[in-house]
């Protein structure tokens, strides 16, 4: 009864740790997976170098994050190999000619991951093509543009989950909140005849309002009756999805020229402007995402509400004793989480991903948001970087699917694996025999039950 949260908040690290987590994630973005950490450490001053290496090999956030990434990539490679009959057949005579098996495996895996990289960050061929005048500069930026397009909604849903986490609530309902958000945003987008500019603003805010409504329900239920938000948000996810599928085919919503389940398209005046011309998909949503990250960081660390929120998350009983209204905070947390997820929903229909409602318009952003929040260690800027990584995986996954024939599901596997390893630092530590330094800080959330 009394214990839900002392150990429940996933985040009890000192503030300085935030910095470490960010650097960690920032570096993993650029780091090539094959280079182990610390290999290039300076050796000129043995004592200092030794120290540096030791620290690097200790189980800190940075190392664990990086190694989790490596582990996930290795498991992904194994999956690719065992699911390829041709490559697998070379393993039947591995004792007589091991080079066959190794070469074919290497070709398969390295091509797939190279495509993942080219699709998400940088494609050397496009670059040389640009230098030679074969293609325009857009082709060079296309991977980045794709990555940012996928990143934007994930930032919002990731922030939504992270904010709730900080207040001691587990918002599994980002998916549902984003769904209602997408509905509100789209309805405002094609039903309201408003001038450009204002129309966009109204549509984006409508999405936020939709999310807020859907976040308010589990919040108020939690505060009034103690009903667990995990259960209620799961249930509301499905209710939202069914509502969406029902709504799409109603008169006035469904595209009159179509018989399948698709709504009318959002007016041009309500669409987020593209940042790099019409050929590249990146849109203003990513700017809003950065803004939202800053706002959430400010809210958490600088505002009274943020303080109350963290206090409630750390220990509701103590917070109540200190005169903080826990019920009010719970409701506010869920409303804010809903607003953020709803904004993520707006991004899906007002940006370049889609311009009309379909049953799958929200994709998986809500569930991915949970992973993003965990990977970002429930810190706003960490969430932003984690979303970047996930966006890159999505964008690269598309290219991997079309060029290497590796289905997009591998990306889901990679994402899930990364988070599993992140969530269990003790496992990563055991696999790599890391020193136990500061490991206590890495302890992920102890469970808090229903």
């Amino acid at each position: 009864m009394s214990d839900p949260n002392q150990s429940g908040s996933p985040d009890k690290e000192p503030a300085s740790e935030a910095q470490a987590a960010q650097t960690a994630l920032g570096n993993t973005e650029k780091a090539e997976p094959t280079t182990g950490p610390g290999r290039s450490a300076p050796e000129s001053k043995p004592t200092l170098g030794r120290l540096f290496l030791d620290n690097l090999w200790a189980a800190n956030t940075f190392t664990v994050t990086l190694l989790s990434l490596v582990l996930a990539i290795v498991v992904g490679a194994i999956l690719m190999i065992i699911s390829d009959p041709e490559v697998l057949s070379t393993y039947s005579y591995i004792t007589s000619r091991p080079s066959d098996a190794l070469n074919s495996s290497w070709t398969l895996v390295s091509e797939a991951y190279a495509n993942l990289f080219k699709g998400s960050i940088f494609d050397p061929e496009a670059f040389s093509g640009w230098l030679n005048g074969d293609n325009g500069w857009q082709a060079v930026l296309a991977p980045i543009s794709e990555t940012l397009t996928y990143t934007a909604p994930l930032v919002f849903t990731g922030l939504s989950v992270a904010l709730a986490f900080r207040g001691g609530l587990f918002n599994i309902g980002a998916q549902g909140q984003a769904t209602i958000g997408v509905i509100f945003a789209a309805l405002a987008g094609f039903l309201l005849p408003l001038p450009p500019g204002l129309h966009l603003l109204v549509a984006v805010l409508a999405g936020a309002l939709g999310g807020a409504v859907w976040g308010f329900i589990p919040g108020i239920l939690k505060a009034r009756t103690g009903a667990h938000e995990v259960i209620n948000t799961i249930m509301l996810n499905y209710i939202a999805t069914y509502f969406l599928t029902w709504l799409i085919v109603q008169n006035g919503v469904q595209d009159p020229t179509r018989t399948d389940a698709i709504s009318r398209a959002v007016d041009n005046s309500a669409q987020l402007p593209r940042l790099l011309g019409d050929n590249l998909r990146v849109h203003a949503g990513i700017l809003l995402a950065v803004l939202a990250t800053w706002a959430v960081a400010w809210l958490l660390n600088r505002s009274t509400l943020g303080f109350e929120l963290r206090a409630v998350g750390a220990n509701p009983d103590a917070a109540r004793t200190a005169g903080i209204s826990v019920t009010r905070t719970y409701v506010l947390i869920m409303v804010f989480a809903g607003v953020l997820a709803g904004l993520g929903g707006s991004n899906m229909v007002l940006g370049s991903t889609a311009s009309a409602l379909t049953p799958l318009v929200v994709a998986q952003i809500g569930f991915d948001g949970i992973l993003v929040a965990l990977l970002g260690r429930v810190k706003p800027w960490g969430v932003l970087l984690a979303a970047l990584l996930f966006g890159a995986l999505q964008a690269g996954g598309n290219r991997m699917q079309s060029y290497s024939g590796i289905s997009l599901e591998l990306v889901t596997v990679l994402q899930a694996l990364i988070v599993i390893f992140i969530a269990a630092p003790a496992l990563v530590k055991a696999i790599f025999q890391l020193r136990a330094a500061r490991a206590a800080r890495l302890q992920t959330s102890l469970a808090k039950g229903w």
């Binding site: 009864m1 214990d3 839900p4 996933p10 999956l79 699911s83 390829d84 009959p85 587990f170 599994i172 239920l221 939690k222 009034r224 009756t225 103690g226 009903a227 667990h228 995990v230 259960i231 209620n232 799961i234 249930m235 509301l236 499905y238 209710i239 069914y242 509502f243 029902w246 509701p316 109540r320 209204s325 019920t327 719970y330 569930f367 949970i370 992973l371 965990l374 289905s407 599901e409 591998l410 990306v411 889901t412 596997v413 990679l414 994402q415 899930a416 988070v419 599993i420 969530a423 269990a424 003790a426 496992l427 302890q443 992920t444 959330s445 102890l446 469970a447 808090k448 039950g449 229903w450």
Partner: protein, 426 residues
């Protein structure tokens, strides 16, 4: 459920003057009854609403005039509501509530059946009952998996993943070996594999159990989807054409009217599911294993003091849960359909809802699963008769019901006290 209750807003006290929970429920029921009698009665037509005792329109049937039926059953609900409002002894509460709800559903059906297009004013009961059980089957297995897990104190949100992995490995190994039994065993192992991950991360590495459950679901979706594209899609013959269990008719029982053809001409999974409910119920409340499981789920420290190996019990139960859920997944691929990507499609979460709605009790979970299955089947039926009720709203019903249950409007539900809390010896 109330482990996270916020004490500073009083959870509506059980006896608060005149408006006890019974009276509130009674008032709600009264309103529902009025709605049924007036609205459904007005909308129903004079057609006979026929509830046939067979698969189709033919044969014997229970008949009632649509309008009369809708009003009559509405009045029954009103009466039940009024009885609760007047105050009945506590042990009568559930039966009276049940009568009221059944009256409401029947009133609704009278309206719908009588208002169906001419020639379709019948509801084939055998069909409905059989469909209810088929649709409830994965929920029953899933909810039982939840019971096994959560009664020992490990939250199981990974039911979806366990079902999916079971369905996948059942289809894969069933196809490769060409034997349903190999498929069944493989399905059980597949489900247990996800369970093993859940157990290791939740028990050994103390990861938040809800978090790891959600992530494992995604992992299962990813791995099965990936292998489906890479293996099954490229060679359907070899990897995705599992043999299927046929229907087994049970002598004597299959001759019972209505129930016989609906229930006793099913496949192995139907019998296995019902049997498991019985076995787990008895085992949980009547055996030493059950007592230990429950004690570990309620108060692991006390259990440990008495010499129960808390972690071992938890590992064993979580693995068992995976086996049960894996078999539940096979009830798709080894009996009904071939494997497709993400084919469980949220049934694992409805199973979770059934578990909670059934108050962490095997029999309760069965009833909840049947209720959800009925809602599902009803949606199909209403779609077939062009009902004005959108099927999506009926599909929402299980989720809405669960929210109401959890919020304490239909009676408090309480999880095992140590559910979700890792046990650290010391």
């Amino acid at each position: 459920m109330s482990t996270m209750a916020v004490p500073d807003v009083a959870v509506a006290p059980v006896d608060e003057g005149f408006w006890t929970r019974g009276r509130k429920v009674g008032l709600t029921l009264l309103a529902l009854g009025l709605l049924a009698a007036v609205l459904f009665g007005a909308l129903a037509t004079d057609q006979q609403a026929r509830f046939t005792l067979s698969d189709d329109a033919a044969g014997a049937a229970l008949e009632i005039n649509g309008t009369i039926g809708a009003i009559l059953f509405g009045i029954i609900t009103i009466a039940a509501g009024a009885a609760l409002l007047a105050g009945v002894p506590k042990r009568w509460f559930l039966p009276v509530l049940g009568v009221g709800l059944v009256g409401f559903v029947l009133s609704f059906l009278c309206w719908q059946v009588s208002a169906a297009p001419t020639g379709q004013n019948f509801m084939p009961l055998v069909n409905i009952i059989r469909g209810t059980f088929i649709l409830a089957l994965p929920l029953i297995f899933g909810a039982l998996a939840g019971v096994l897990c959560e009664r020992s104190g490990v939250v199981n949100v990974a039911i979806e993943g366990q079902l999916l992995m079971g369905a996948f490995s059942g289809a894969l190994f069933g196809s490769i070996s060409g034997s349903v039994w190999v498929g069944l065993v493989a399905a059980a192992i597949g489900g247990a594999f996800i369970s093993l991950l859940l157990a290791i991360f939740a028990i050994r590495y103390l990861v938040d159990q809800v978090v790891i459950g959600i992530v494992l679901n995604l992992l299962a979706v990813g791995v099965t989807g990936f292998l489906y594209e890479r293996l099954m899609q490229t060679n359907i013959e070899r990897y995705n054409s599992a043999p299927r269990f046929g229907n087994w008719n049970i002598p004597l029982l299959e001759d019972i009217p209505v129930l016989g053809p609906a229930l006793f001409r099913g496949n192995i999974f139907l019998y296995l599911g019902l049997l498991l409910v019985l076995v787990i119920h008895i085992a949980l409340f009547r055996t030493r294993w059950g007592l230990r499981t429950r004690s570990v789920g309620e108060h692991p420290t006390a259990a440990d003091t008495l010499g129960v190996k808390v972690l071992r019990v938890r590992y064993r139960n979580v693995l068992l849960a995976g086996v049960v859920a894996g078999i539940g997944g096979a009830s798709y691929t080894l009996a009904l359909y071939s494997f497709t990507k993400n084919m469980i499609g949220g049934k694992g979460f409805i199973a979770l809802a059934a578990l909670i709605f059934g108050r962490w009790n095997p029999t309760g979970a069965l009833l909840a699963a049947l209720f959800f299955g009925f809602a599902d089947q009803l949606a199909t039926y209403l779609g077939a008769i062009n009902s004005v009720i959108p099927s999506q709203f009926l599909a929402m019903l299980p989720y809405l019901a669960t929210i109401l249950a959890v919020a304490g409007l239909v009676g408090r539900v309480r999880a095992p006290a140590a559910d979700g809390k890792p046990y650290i010896k010391g």
